[in-house]
């Protein structure tokens, strides 16, 4: 009896202190400005969330050391969506009901962004993403969305052009992830192939994070006798896929999309990843003026780790939000409008926005896995950018 009473008292005190803690966080002094960071912090895609947070945190530390945004120190709170649409929608509800956030920096996977954005739109909260590339995201007709990375329409078409023009191939095989990212690339590629007059001889899809046995897909692909293999998906799946390539398909050139351009693709794929062309929108050795300083700061902050595309695009996001607030008078209510009016020169080049929130004016880079390292090919990059 006395035990239960004690337990109840402890429980009450705990609950009360939680409520109090919630109040003090939600109330937030006027000398700070809070942003929610949403991405995959756990699960198979946690690498993306980790680099997202690395990029954002580095920028925020720099901004805070420099006096913050409008004199307010920036605070971040992380939310884990596991790259999963259902979890993302739940996370969005939690962020909205908190009420203390100025804007959301997220999400990473397009499927997660698609599921979460309606929740933010209804609450009038701005969302800015540095990595959701599905064209569908900006086609929902919402007024709260911006992204700093080019869409899959552009990348899908680029990959066909690259295979057809730079590599001179005409029998194209595609393996793509069955989610919004893979399908977005695939649809853009089909349109572009028709325009460029090349044949897509086979197109196979797989369930990202789930399919580990690619032998059926590869057998079918091999039977179509392609001269180039385009990979639309994430580094973990593609790293596993390439190790299962055997027979005549082993000598066919591989061209992979930006989602694969992570060092882990090489560590999973090993020798089978060697020679893969990677089309991305950032490389640590890019010649933009802001890039050198950024790479040095990133490597210093994260123990010599080289920044990838994810980290670079997310690093720019807090700076873009800062400029939108300070230079274009953005408030919580008008932030998206102010972001769309902002232009910014960062490590990935110049960022400007279209009315629907999509980015304009980005050029891609071509890298290649050479001796186990993803290496920028300056010649192909220049040739291809033109």
């Amino acid at each position: 009896m006395s035990f239960t009473r004690t337990a109840a008292t402890v429980g009450l005190v705990a609950a009360a202190s939680l409520v109090l803690a919630g109040c003090s966080a939600g109330g937030g002094g006027s000398d700070t400005i809070k942003f929610a960071v949403a991405g995959p912090m756990s699960g198979e895609n946690a690498v993306y969330g980790e680099t997202q947070v690395n990029g954002i945190q580095l920028a925020v530390d720099e901004i805070n050391a420099d006096g913050g945004i409008d004199g307010k120190q920036v605070e971040l709170e992380m939310f884990d969506d596991e790259c999963d649409p259902t979890t993302a929608a739940n996370v969005a509800s939690r962020i909205v009901s908190d009420g203390g956030f100025e804007a959301v920096l997220g999400h990473v996977c397009s499927s997660a962004t698609l599921a979460a954005d309606p929740v933010y739109e209804r609450a009038g909260l701005s969302l800015i993403s540095g990595s959701s590339t599905s064209p569908a995201v900006s086609q929902q007709g919402f007024t709260n969305f911006s992204r700093t990375i080019p869409t899959d329409d552009i990348q899908g078409a680029q990959m066909i052009d690259f295979a057809a023009e730079e590599l001179g191939k005409s029998k194209i095989a595609i393996v793509y992830a069955s989610d919004d990212y893979g399908q977005g690339l695939y649809e853009a590629a089909v349109d572009q192939a028709e325009e460029a007059g090349v044949d897509i001889v086979s197109a196979e899809t797989f369930v990202p994070n789930e399919t580990k046995d690619f032998s059926s897909i590869l057998t079918k692909t091999s039977a179509s006798d392609p001269d180039v293999l385009l990979l639309f998906g994430y580094y973990n799946d593609m790293g596993t896929l390439v190790t299962q390539i055997s027979g005549s398909l082993a000598s066919v050139d591989k061209v992979a999309s930006a989602g694969t351009a992570q060092p882990d693709y090489v560590s999973l794929g090993g020798a089978a990843a060697e020679g893969t062309y990677l089309l991305a929108f950032y490389d640590p050795s890019s010649p933009f003026p802001a890039n050198e300083k950024y790479v040095a700061a990133y490597e210093k902050a994260y123990g010599g780790e080289e920044p990838n595309e994810q980290a670079a695009y997310w690093y720019e996001v807090p700076y873009i939000v800062k400029s939108a607030i300070e230079d274009h008078g953005g408030t919580k209510e008008t932030l998206t409008e102010a972001i769309h009016a902002t232009t910014y020169e960062g490590p990935t080049g110049k960022t400007a926005f279209e009315d629907d929130g999509d980015v304009t004016g980005k050029t891609g880079v071509v890298a290649r896995v050479t001796d186990g390292v993803i290496t920028l090919d300056p010649e192909l990059t220049t040739k291809f950018a033109q």
């Binding site: 369930v207 032998s215 059926s216 897909i217 057998t219 079918k220 973990n236 596993t240 055997s246 999973l268």
Partner: protein, 292 residues
Amino acid sequence: MGSELMQQIVNGLAAGAIYALIAVGYNLVFGLLELINFSHGHVYMVGTFVVLSLMDTGIPFPVAILGGLVIGAGLGMAVERFAYRPLRGANRIIPTVSAVAATLVLENAANIIWGPAARRFDTPLPKGSIEVLGVTLTTMHGIVFGTAAVLAFGLWLLVEKTPWGRSVRAIRDDLPTAQLMGIAVNRIVSSVYALGSILGVLAGVLFAAYYSTVYVGMGFTGTLNAFTAAVIGGIGSIKGSFIGGLTLGVVQALAAGFLSSGYMNAITFVILILFLIARPRGVVGRAEVSRA
């Protein structure tokens, strides 16, 4: 087209042989206790990661496998001792709940130790292939089929021809009577969990070597496929494990090859549901022995 079909069937048989070895772990236990050991898939996942970690420290592949088998067997026995044995007399749903708890513990522990990302599994096994009538047969195909065949035969010998096997069959037929006849039930049950786990870890190593990858999610994938294989073949039956595993592997490969790999899990579930409705005892299942 003909050779593509043959190739898909070979791919499917290899995947199916691996499912079968995992399914045996379920069926051995179910045969004894009529309990679905849902943590089995996670035990084999942890065991496979242990093999990877041992290899990372430079320990030779065969010794690393041995280490994984020992840890796997220990884990299997620990799960039985702490999650199932205290509940042996309880309603069947209760150990199922504790099985789910055991999987959560194992999965989260694996996430903390090895991280959520997939890891490369590189073995010194020979990599080569030959073409037979347009079908590519790799050395891994040979190793998977060979290992599965040897283990299947060894298991049959063990269960049908040894005193240990006689005790297992006695417990399977009637646990209280077996106990009355002086069979050390707890020890035999414990050893069955150890054996199931050992076969599971061997299957895990084959899986990891065949697909060159290890990841925490393989626990759940293994659970789903092996459980389906067990249902198809006949739950509780060792022969059924092999029939069910090979059937499921081939059906999945054909579905992925000629429809889309996106349908693979959907087809697995459809087969599972159809069997549960139409033939819950599977292809060769034993008639249920009631102990009411």
